[in-house]
């Protein structure tokens, strides 16, 4: 066992279970129950990191999530995790850890060269240096590498993660003395209780002071019986290794439970999650989150071996590690005294320098009895040592004012602990809008004792400023009884004797920055924020440069940034800023506490929503047919649709060319099942359609279909589709694939909020029907092979008719509609028969060389006809008139349909509207980029006035040239008719630094009269 190990009674490490681990490639020993930090300290390791800006040696400061320095890369390969705090990594056998800072090496950090850079890196360094933004890309790589921080894994995460959604009557955050007592009282009252604690076992500070006394017994015994009783209560769940990282509206607690991180990778259960996210909706939340000790700010306070005083105590009592042999403690308060006595009794030489001149006589007596050398009225001017602390220079302080009044002794030490008081962990309280209250007596931002009882949030114990154990327990009992009565319960029994052996507290000294007798910035660097290398001088500089708001000071100096989020530094920073600004601390206030309290891995937030289960994927009933034919797919909303069907050796362009020509000259077939479908019934459906569509529906007879434009109330096109009249009181509406859900909600909203008197019932039937569109001059022949009970002749089954019949032995609705301009039949059958009917159509079409095609060919075919895609050729600012589709607007309908009134608004009716046109490039082989800007002259230098942009652009195999759709200001008037060019129709499409000459034409490139679909 290393010489730093002490067999402390009550320690939580198991000295019978030795472990080995590696740090930076070197093997070390530890014990079960260690953290990586305690094991490294036990091995005498001091320097673990280099600082962010100056490359200064840094070591462990804290014991938990407050740790700013000891950031580790844990494990390698796919399992690697960057930037874990060594203080939060439970040791297991075979653990592999690496430093994350220090470049090129930890021993030699380039930045540290004689502090060469230090005078060039003041507060606001990045803002000042990179005001010329062009410099940043050149230096970013070097700066990032030099700054350190770990590396993200480059392989996929092999772990799985889980989400748990649950309800509880009482959620208690923090399993220290107060949290345990609250859980006991609520549990005994029969409430459904969840107790969360971020550590591997409950106890909080009791684990660091196992010899304190509660009700006549040792704290360790009280703790054991409390945890035992909680585990015996079926209505109480205790979750350890579970960090509550956010508290949202209405008492939603988010917590991450580490299930397997503490196990050797080989021992982790396969197929079990690594971590679980708990989303707990609670009737009451009890914050028993405790407090974190903040260090004092003094010269060279960042030398390895300098910690918070409580960390020295915790490493001794909980982990059996005496960090040094000769220990110097510096304090402004009573909290360090118990630890000082413990360290002295464990064999350390302890000097306790208290900044106060009047100290607590009871504590003084106790620590002197243990052998502690107490010096009152002294502060540390600066520490000595570089890679490990070797001593400190004390100065005599004025009894009241924080100024130096004389010199003090120089004291040698190999570990140094300081305490400037406790900072309550108020974070969760503030996440949904609570503001902490500054308690001048306790020198802390606290959760007001009343919490926000109205919304069910209570604070107990140290988080409210009750730092004494007995006071905290008595307060917890009182507040928990209030909570119980608010739920109609009472605590059945007394909590028993809560008396402790603590002396009454003596007031702390209000000191944050220990003076060294020199002007700020002229002495040794005194760090406030260790992770971001923010010194007291930086805060002074920020104020001198006229930053006034603490939020601005934070951002200018980086105070409180980083993975520790200022848990040690914030209050010191606020207090120093307040002093420089000449304000009180509550006037300066705090920065904003936002979730997450401590870092949460993306995997946990994603849970099972990753990879194939990231989002539900919808497939058409014919999916297997497309896969079998080698289709390439593309996502369309949640759907995966066939994109094109390449044959051997074909690329996208070759396949699309073949597919297009088949549809235009022979027969093609496309899966249209994804279109949104809404079944509307009721005697007022016709009137309802009249109101929600621009078109008129009064005359549409059963057996007929109509294309409709749906507008928003601004008169802009929001969706389109074909609606069929099944019967006078029954219609089937189709919507765009992506708009189906939005349109359904839109229709329901109008029906429920404005026209509940209309007799209309709507049902989404998108998934109920499978649709195969048979397209091309030979489509009638194909359909005739497998459909005998519908008269398909042109005179009996006209364009825009639909018929009910049997296709391939299956009941079907066949629509004679066309999104290609060709003769086409869309066959709709029960989705369960979709695959069967598709194959039957393929069989029937074999002799006609039927060609399946995907979305790409569909787009080319519709663009050749100038058919719009809502959302591609429109963007929420196009009226039907802008699209030259006045034919689809029933202006004579008696009811003022949605959007109609807006046609007359001055802007909608005015000149200079962007309108849909076709564009033809001078060079027929150039396919314009979609999004290319339409401009008037080729020789302009940006920024040029834009007339519009290209919305759709393809190569048309039918025409043997490129075509494009665009929206262009005044575009309809610019169209050249019949090849007659007026000059106004000549524009340029600009993209990628090149302007291409284009002619503005009608958007209908193929079959302008529409004869082909009527054959």
């Amino acid at each position: 066992m290393s010489s730093y190990r002490v067999r402390r009674p009550g320690a939580r490490v198991d000295f019978d279970k030795p472990l080995t681990f590696s740090f930076d490639g070197q093997a070390y020993d530890g014990f079960a129950g260690d953290t990586l930090a305690s094991a490294l300290l036990a091995n005498g390791t001091r320097m673990l990191a280099r600082s962010f800006k100056y490359g200064r040696p840094r070591g462990i400061i804290g014991t938990g999530p407050e740790e700013p320095n000891a950031l580790m890369q844990i494990e390698t390969g796919a399992h690697t995790i960057p930037n874990l705090k060594a203080t939060q990594v439970e040791l297991y056998d075979g653990l592999v850890a690496r430093r994350t800072t220090g470049w090129p090496t930890l021993e030699f950090d380039l930045k540290s060269l004689g502090g060469l850079f230090s005078r060039f890196m003041p507060a606001g360094f990045y803002y000042k240096t990179f005001q010329n933004q062009k410099l940043w890309p050149k230096f970013e790589h070097i700066i990032r590498q030099a700054a350190g921080y770990g590396s993200a894994p480059s392989e996929p995460d092999p772990e799985t993660y889980d989400h748990s959604h649950r309800h509880a009557q009482v959620v208690i955050v923090g399993g220290g003395a107060s949290g345990l007592l609250a859980a006991l009282l609520a549990g005994r009252a029969g409430l459904k209780v969840v107790l969360l604690d971020e550590q591997n076992e409950c106890g909080g500070w009791l684990l660091s002071s196992p010899h304190s006394v509660i009700g006549g017994e040792q704290a360790s015994a009280w703790l054991k019986s409390a945890v035992g009783e909680l585990q015996s209560l079926p209505n109480v769940q205790v979750l350890t290794r579970t960090s509550a990282f956010a508290l949202h509206d209405m008492n939603l607690v988010l917590a991450v439970e580490q299930l397997q991180d503490h196990l050797p990778i080989a021992d982790r259960a396969a197929h079990q999650p690594r971590q679980r996210l708990h989303r707990i909706r609670a009737e009451r939340v009890v914050l028993a989150t405790g407090a974190i000790e903040r260090p004092l700010v003094f010269g060279n306070n960042d030398v390895p071996g300098i910690m918070t005083a409580s960390a020295l105590t915790t490493y001794l009592n909980r982990y059996g590690v005496a960090v040094g042999k000769r220990i110097l403690l510096q304090t402004s308060n009573d909290h360090v005294y118990q630890g000082a006595a413990d360290l002295a009794r464990a064999g350390c030489e302890v000097v306790l320098a208290d900044t106060r001149t009047r100290i607590n006589p009871a504590w003084e007596k106790r620590v002197r009895a243990a052998g502690v050398d107490v010096r009152t009225g002294f502060g540390i001017a600066y520490a000595r040592g570089r890679r490990a602390v070797t001593g400190a220079q004390l100065v005599k302080l004025d009894a009241q004012r924080n100024v130096v009044v004389g010199s003090g002794p120089s004291i040698d030490c190999d570990a140094l602990g300081s305490s400037g008081g406790l900072s309550p962990t108020v974070h969760l309280y503030c996440h949904d809008g609570g503001r902490p209250h500054w308690d001048e007596e306790r020198l802390a931002f606290v959760v007001p004792e009343a919490g926000r009882a109205k919304s069910g949030i209570y604070g107990v114990g140290a988080v409210t400023g009750e730092f004494g154990l007995q006071n905290a327990l008595e307060q917890t009992e009182r507040i928990t009884r209030e909570l119980l009565s608010s739920l109609g319960k009472s605590a059945p029994t007394s909590s028993g004797n809560l008396k402790t052996d603590e002396p009454d507290a003596t007031p702390a000294r209000r000191i944050f920055r220990v003076p060294d007798g020199r002007a700020e910035g002229h002495g040794k660097k005194a760090f406030v924020d260790f992770q971001n290398d923010v010194s007291a001088a930086d805060i002074h500089l920020a104020v001198r440069e006229n930053y006034r708001s603490i939020e601005h000071i934070k951002r200018y100096t980086a105070l409180g940034f980083g993975t520790d989020q200022g848990k040690l530094s914030n209050v010191n920073g606020f207090a120093i800023a307040a002093d420089v600004l000449g304000k009180s601390i509550p006037e300066v206030g705090t920065t904003t506490y936002r979730p997450a309290y401590s870092p949460v891995t993306f995997g946990t937030l994603a849970g099972a929503h990753a990879g194939d289960t990231f989002e539900p994927r919808r497939y058409s009933p014919m999916q297997a047919a497309h896969v079998a034919r080698g289709a390439e797919f593309e996502p369309v909303g949640q759907w995966l649709r066939p994109w094109y069907f390449p044959q051997t050796g074909e690329d996208l362009h070759a396949a699309v060319r073949r597919e297009c020509l088949a549809a235009r000259r022979g027969v093609g077939i496309m899966d249209a099942s994804t279109l949104g479908k809404i079944d509307l019934r009721g005697k007022d459906v016709r009137e309802f359609l009249n109101r929600v569509y621009a078109n008129a529906w009064t005359q549409l007879a059963p057996g007929k279909c109509r294309y409709g434009l749906m507008l928003d109330e601004n008169g802009m096109v929001m969706d389109d589709g074909v609606t069929a009249c099944v019967a006078d009181n029954h219609f089937l509406m189709t919507t765009t694939t992506g708009g189906a859900a939005r349109v359904m909600t839109w229709l329901e909203k109008w029906h429920q909020t404005e026209w509940p008197d209309l007799d209309v019932y709507m049902t989404s039937v998108t998934d109920h029907w499978a649709t195969a569109a048979v397209v091309g001059p030979k489509s009638r022949q194909v359909l005739a092979k497998i459909c005998s009970d519908i008269d398909l002749s042109p005179s009996a089954f006209k364009f825009m008719d639909w018929r009910e019949g049997t296709v391939a032995g299956v009941p079907a609705r066949v629509f004679r509609i066309s999104f290609s301009g060709e003769l086409a039949f869309e066959v709709n059958v029960d989705a369960n028969y979709g695959h069967h009917v598709w194959e039957a159509l393929m069989d029937g079409g074999r002799e006609f060389d039927i060609t399946p095609y995907g979305t790409e060919t569909m787009h080319v075919l519709r663009a050749e006809k100038g058919f719009i895609i809502v959302g591609q050729d429109t963007d929420g600012s196009m009226t039907p008139l802008d699209l030259d589709m006045a034919w689809a607007v029933g202006m004579k309908k008696p009811f003022s349909f949605i959007g109609k009134r807006s046609f007359a608004r001055s802007d909608t009716a005015g000149p200079n509207r962007k309108q849909l046109v076709g564009l033809l490039t001078d060079d027929p082989q150039i396919v314009l980029a979609e999004g290319a800007q339409v401009i008037e002259r080729a020789d302009v230098t940006p920024p040029a006035a834009m007339l519009g942009h290209v919305t759709s652009s393809y190569y048309s195999p039918e025409l043997g040239r490129s075509i494009a759709l665009a929206v262009v200001r005044d575009g309809i008037a610019r169209r050249s008719e019949d090849g007659h060019k007026s000059g106004r129709d000549l524009l340029y499409a600009y993209a990628g630094g090149k302007a291409h000459k284009v002619t503005v034409v009608s958007p209908v490139f193929v079959d302008p009269k529409g004869d082909r679909q009527n054959v």
């Binding site: 949202h248 601004n714 909020t753 608004r905």
Partner: protein, 99 residues
């Protein structure tokens, strides 16, 4: 991420089941053509957007798909109540028809 009470289902449910339906009680003018551009523009675009209590509509998207009225404090997300459209209108009018 708050909880809403659906007056149609009679249950408190998580926010993710619902969709926001905008400010409540903006009736569509009965005769839009009778309005001048300014009045029509007010109907189209002008919303209260208060910091504080707000009468708004929500729809129970993954439940009953019904719209209903909620009085919510936009600054704190405190919720004063949920009503059906008709009952909400009465409650709104009882408060003098303003937020």
């Amino acid at each position: 991420m708050f909880v809403l009470f659906c007056p149609h289902c009679g249950e408190k449910r998580e926010e993710e089941e619902f969709g926001y339906g905008g400010e409540a009680f903006i009736p569509r003018p009965a005769t839009p053509e009778a309005l001048d551009d300014e009045a029509w523009g007010d109907y189209l675009f002008m919303r209260k957007n208060p910091k504080g209590w707000h009468w708004e509509m929500w729809s129970h998207n993954t439940g009953c798909r019904k719209f209903f009225v909620v009085k919510r404090n936009t600054a704190t997300n405190a919720i004063a109540g949920s009503w059906t459209l008709a009952e909400g209108r009465k409650a709104y009018d009882a408060e003098g028809g303003s937020t």
